[in-house]
């Protein structure tokens, strides 16, 4: 392994600028003559807009423009879209109620925006927004997904009966029913997958800018996928044709999915820039982020597992009500359907699976993909069910899992729910996790904890996810409105250094380092001579962006293909100059060599020859600059076992995670340090969901957890230091053999953590606990169990 090649823990080259305050974040940007936008937002969860009076705001100092939804309509600006069509049980398309960027007739959640005030300064914009007078007629609100379909519940959209966006199913219902009728044991659970607020460290922000000379529009925005934003803003919102619109996503401070979507504020800032003929800037306050960033999860699920007398899984039956919030966010529909139910086989050979999902509207912030997106919810269903089944049947949880795992020699393995797993070795991950976690020593540790008055528990989560999203034809057949390939370009400059362009977007992932490592390894160019460019639609050919742990598998693979083209062209140039046959040219470590001789040129010399083609192959284009697009063959399937060990103080209910082990199969690992960081961060996210985070609305739809004073984030002192191991089976579905690592922790950790908490409390009679399992909730559960005993 070279110092900067594949497999080396290279320090992240971007960190120096981030840590020294030299990053280029959006709120730091100052455009000439920029103005500031402030949005007028609904304080009500549901209300009719009787009137909007902007007259006093219009005459306030510094106010340049005030716009409402009617202005957008008059200009032909289309509503916000949802880009994935779901076909329901009856063959009907999902309900897609209108989602205007500025509400016109009704507001449907607290924070719903209905007007924008643009002023010389931010304070003047806020002053103006306060002066906009809105006449609301309050309407009743529906908040909880489990109540949404009740006949007595108010309708979020008058044209969507029962608040039902879709009633969708996957799997063989009859076969599953038959499996249950033959079962020796059935385990059933009712679980809630708690609603989460994404809380990227950098709030969303945008600057729209119009150039009257060229008639070009530019949107600077905190996006995970600037090209998709341009496509949607152009093709659907109709703000400008794609060739007149540039979208730039500079350094972006985290996304976790929440910056995939095309939101109202960014759309309005871009449109308004042309109206006021000046740049329009908006940065979300943290309160706005809580109210308007698409939230995650929010499922209510009943699930049943049928087993035979030997503990073999026969069938799985799952019903889920998924909260969409008040409107459909950009990819909301696919999260509780194709990103969820398709993973319900987990690591197991369950032959019959049936899942139906009712996606419902409520008067809450829209819900969409958040780190893991559907796969954490699926893993939580399966792994809570399996753990409970083990407890009920008296089989060790590890043993029950092992009996049902897909065997290491069974690939490709076709599940009953669409996915075909390409490779894996789940037993190896389980064994390695148990070894690292010293599972055999647990009984002694539990006894020792008991002597101190503490309750100790251990929990497993054997997860699988589908990453490397995704083969375009496959997702197209399932309703996706886009292809999910990725583009890459490698441009040698005449002096031999390299600029790499990728359609992936780095907002914390470290692509500037890992992609440079891939190129350094493949082309033998020194790491420090490679720069990675991303996040600008005028620089990069196209890109589908970063989400679903896809960047290495799809974006990285596009660069491998581009590198292959560079080598092919370089071979022609070298053969000509070295006066050899092209077939005799070998390429290794950055050198083109005539086989069996010491005649060689390095790739920098070849690049120079390509740009100064004095001695050059006839008919070959000068320059060394290759573009490639990669459309993956299949998803990749990272999998592994996480083991969490907790200690509970029964006097207070407080939980401490005393050990946390993560053994993952991510396929080929490009940079172990960055991967370990992703595991650690993902586990923090998952532990956050399990023990701390919970987004709450009151019965009127007011957001109770609207700030960090009440929304509890995982912090350094309650986040475990993860013991990390790998059992890598390289993916056959992409040329790098990578699988993706960004979401695994968030997918695996909730079930591992809750299984550990329940294990600690099982003997007291506590057999389930809802997330987040706070000290308060654990204390209440212990007390209720004692009272019932």
């Amino acid at each position: 392994m070279s110092e900067h090649g594949m497999g080396a823990s290279v320090r992240r080259k971007e960190d120096y600028r981030f840590l020294t305050g030299n990053g280029h974040y959006l709120d730091d940007m100052v455009r000439p003559r920029q103005t500031f936008a402030c949005f007028v937002r609904s304080p009500h969860a549901h209300a009719k807009i009787r009137g909007i009076d902007t007259s006093s705001a219009a005459s306030a100092p510094g106010v340049i423009g005030i716009f409402t939804g009617k202005d957008l309509e008059a200009d032909g600006v289309g509503p916000l879209i949802c880009g994935w069509g779901i076909t329901d049980k009856n063959g009907e398309p999902h309900k897609a109620p209108a989602h205007p960027a500025l509400a016109t007739d009704e507001v449907r959640h607290v924070g719903d925006q209905l007007a924008v005030v643009i002023a010389e300064t931010l304070e003047q914009a806020r002053d103006g927004a306060e002066l906009v007078s809105v006449d609301y007629e309050e309407l009743p609100a529906v908040v909880l997904p489990k109540n949404a379909m009740d006949a007595s519940s108010p309708l979020v959209h008058a044209d969507v009966p029962n608040n039902l966006c879709y009633d969708w199913e996957l799997g063989d219902k009859a076969a599953t029913e038959a499996a249950f009728s033959n079962a020796a044991h059935v385990t059933s659970i009712d679980i809630v997958n708690n609603r989460l607020v994404p809380n990227a460290i950098e709030p969303r922000a945008a600057i729209g800018e119009y150039d009257a000379g060229s008639e070009n529009l530019t949107l600077y925005t905190t996006s995970q996928n600037p090209h998709v934003a341009r496509l949607v803003l152009s093709a659907f919102n109709g703000i400008a044709p794609e060739h007149k619109l540039r979208v730039i996503a500079p350094d972006v401070g985290g996304g976790f999915g929440s910056k995939i979507f095309i939101y109202a504020e960014e759309t309005v800032c871009l449109w308004a820039a042309r109206k006021v003929r000046r740049p329009v800037k908006w940065t979300a306050s943290r309160s706005e982020a809580f109210q308007t960033d698409a939230h995650g999860r929010d499922h209510v699920t009943h699930a049943e597992l049928a087993m035979d007398a030997d503990g073999k899984f026969l069938g799985l039956r799952v019903n889920t009500i998924a909260n969409m919030g008040a409107y459909l966010s950009t990819f909301a529909t696919c999260v509780p359907s194709y990103l969820y139910a398709t993973l319900l086989a987990g690591q197991y050979t369950t032959p019959a699976i049936y899942c139906d999902v009712q996606a419902v509207f409520t008067n809450t912030t829209p819900v969409d993909a958040l780190r893991g997106a559907g796969r954490p919810e699926a893993t939580y269903v399966i792994e809570r069910l399996v753990e409970t089944a083990a407890k009920e049947t008296g089989v060790a949880p590890s043993e029950l899992r092992r009996r049902n795992m897909v065997a290491a020699d069974a690939y490709p393995y076709q599940t009953p729910v669409i996915m075909q797993y390409d490779c894996g070795n789940y037993g190896a991950s389980l064994d390695e996790a148990m070894r690292i976690a010293d599972h055999t020593g647990f009984a002694a540790r539990k006894a020792e904890a008991q002597s101190r008055g503490k309750l100790r528990g251990i929990g497993f989560s054997a997860y699988i996810e589908a990453c490397g999203i995704a083969p375009s034809a496959a997702v197209g057949s399932l309703g996706a409105g886009v292809g999910l390939w990725e583009a890459g370009q490698i441009r040698f400059n005449p002096t031999g250094n390299v600029t790499v362009f990728t359609g992936s977007h780095s907002h914390g992932q470290g692509h500037e380092t890992t992609f440079a490592q891939i190129i350094s390894e493949r082309l033998g160019v020194p790491f420090e001579n490679i720069d990675v460019v991303h996040g600008d639609t005028d620089k990069v050919m196209f890109g589908m962006g970063t989400y679903g742990s896809r960047s290495a598998a799809v974006g990285g693979s596009a660069l491998v293909k581009a590198a292959d083209k560079i080598i092919e062209k370089g071979r022609k140039i070298a053969a000509h100059i070295l006066e050899a046959s092209e077939d005799d040219i070998e390429f290794a470590d950055g050198n083109f060599t005539v086989a069996g001789t010491d005649k060689a040129m390095n790739i920098g010399e070849v690049a120079f020859a390509a740009y100064v083609p004095h001695n050059y192959p006839e008919g070959l284009e000068p320059g060394l600059n290759e573009t490639a697009v990669y459309d993956p063959l299949n998803f990749s399937f990272p999998a592994g076992t996480h083991i969490c060990e907790v200690e509970i103080d029964p006097d207070t209910g407080a939980v401490e995670i005393v050990n946390y082990t993560a053994v993952d199969d991510f396929g080929t690992v490009i940079n172990p340090m960055i991967v370990a960081g992703q595991v650690q961060g993902g586990v923090a996210h998952g532990v956050g969901q399990a023990l701390h985070e919970g987004c709450n609305y009151d019965e009127n739809g007011q957001l109770i957890t609207g700030s960090f004073m009440d929304y509890s984030m995982p912090r350094a002192d309650n986040t475990p230091s993860v013991d990390i191991g790998y059992t890598s089976v390289p993916s056959p579905s992409n040329p790098l053999g990578v699988k993706g690592c960004g979401e695994a922790g968030a997918i695996a950790a909730p079930a591992a953590t809750i299984n550990a908490v329940v294990d600690a409390l099982w003997d007291l009679g506590v057999h389930d606990i809802a997330m987040p399992a706070t000290a308060h909730k654990i204390w209440q559960s212990i007390r209720a169990a004692k009272a019932a005993a």
């Binding site: 304070e123 309160s287 701390h692 957890t705 004073m709």
Partner: protein
């Protein structure tokens, strides 16, 4: 934030004059409650009178069995003070549990107690130790100072100058933090003094910090956790919110007071 006049007087006398002459003046100490309130446009004072330029309000003195902490002394200064650490280690520890390092280097004792947030830590120490609040015009005992939610005995234009803490025989503070804000969900301050045991609870009460006379009597007779095992604080006056029911808070009071007694040794 709305516009206001900013003043930074150099003496207490100037601060009083500024406060009295302002239409709706607010004193700015560490600003950890006031500045967020202003940023959210929830307050609109005419003047902000910054106390950070007044040297006489800052610092820690130890004399004759009393620790005197100046009103604008930061939490970090209290937690790091050798005088406090040797005389009343529980006070130094409590100050070290407030917020995070940034908060502790800005937030001040005077600002905290003048605000009297029901979940703040300092009111527990003042009431538990039987401290005296010194203002520009008088001295007020902690028992008379904390009147209710965000309410104190301070007059409109009165300025806290210092807090005087009598040195106890032993003291300890046990804090069970609200998981999101890390304010106290229940904070129990127990002090063993010549005049008997004092028990003050912060974070839990609907009216802010309060004493628990039954526990004080029991502990004065027998300073051991067993002495309070049968005593429950009624949950009738305790807070219920998304983080804890009144019942849970009542239970935690027993647990935290017991732990504080044990820690007093």
């Amino acid at each position: 934030m709305y516009d206001f006049e900013y003043q930074r007087p150099a003496s207490l006398a100037d601060a009083i004059t500024a406060l009295k002459s302002a239409e709706d003046g607010k004193l700015l100490a560490g600003g950890h409650t006031l500045i967020p309130t202003l940023k959210q446009r929830l307050a609109r004072p005419s003047d902000l009178i910054d106390l950070s330029g007044i040297a006489e309000l800052r610092g820690i003195k130890s004399e004759g069995g009393t620790i005197t902490v100046g009103a604008t002394t930061s939490h970090a200064e209290v937690t790091e003070s050798d005088a406090v650490k040797s005389a009343i280690p529980a006070l130094a520890e409590l100050a070290g549990m407030i917020g995070d390092p940034q908060v502790r280097h800005c937030g001040t004792i005077g600002g905290s107690i003048a605000n009297n947030d029901p979940a703040a830590d300092y009111p527990g120490a003042l009431l538990g130790l039987g401290a005296t609040i010194v203002t520009d015009s008088r001295e007020i005992t902690a028992d008379d100072f904390f009147l209710g939610l965000f309410e104190t005995a301070l007059e409109e234009t009165e300025i806290i100058t210092a807090v005087k803490f009598p040195v106890p025989q032993a003291a300890n503070y046990q804090k069970f933090a609200q998981p999101a804000s890390r304010f106290s969900l229940v904070g129990a301050f127990v002090a063993k003094t010549g005049g008997g045991v004092r028990v003050a609870i912060t974070g839990a009460g609907q009216e802010g910090v309060f004493r628990v006379p039954e526990m004080e009597a029991a502990l004065s007779a027998n300073f051991s956790p067993d002495a309070i095992s049968g005593i429950t604080v009624s949950d009738g006056n305790l807070n219920t919110d998304i983080h804890a029911s009144a019942e849970y808070r009542a239970h935690l009071i027993g647990v935290m007071v017991g732990r504080a007694v044990t820690a007093c040794g």
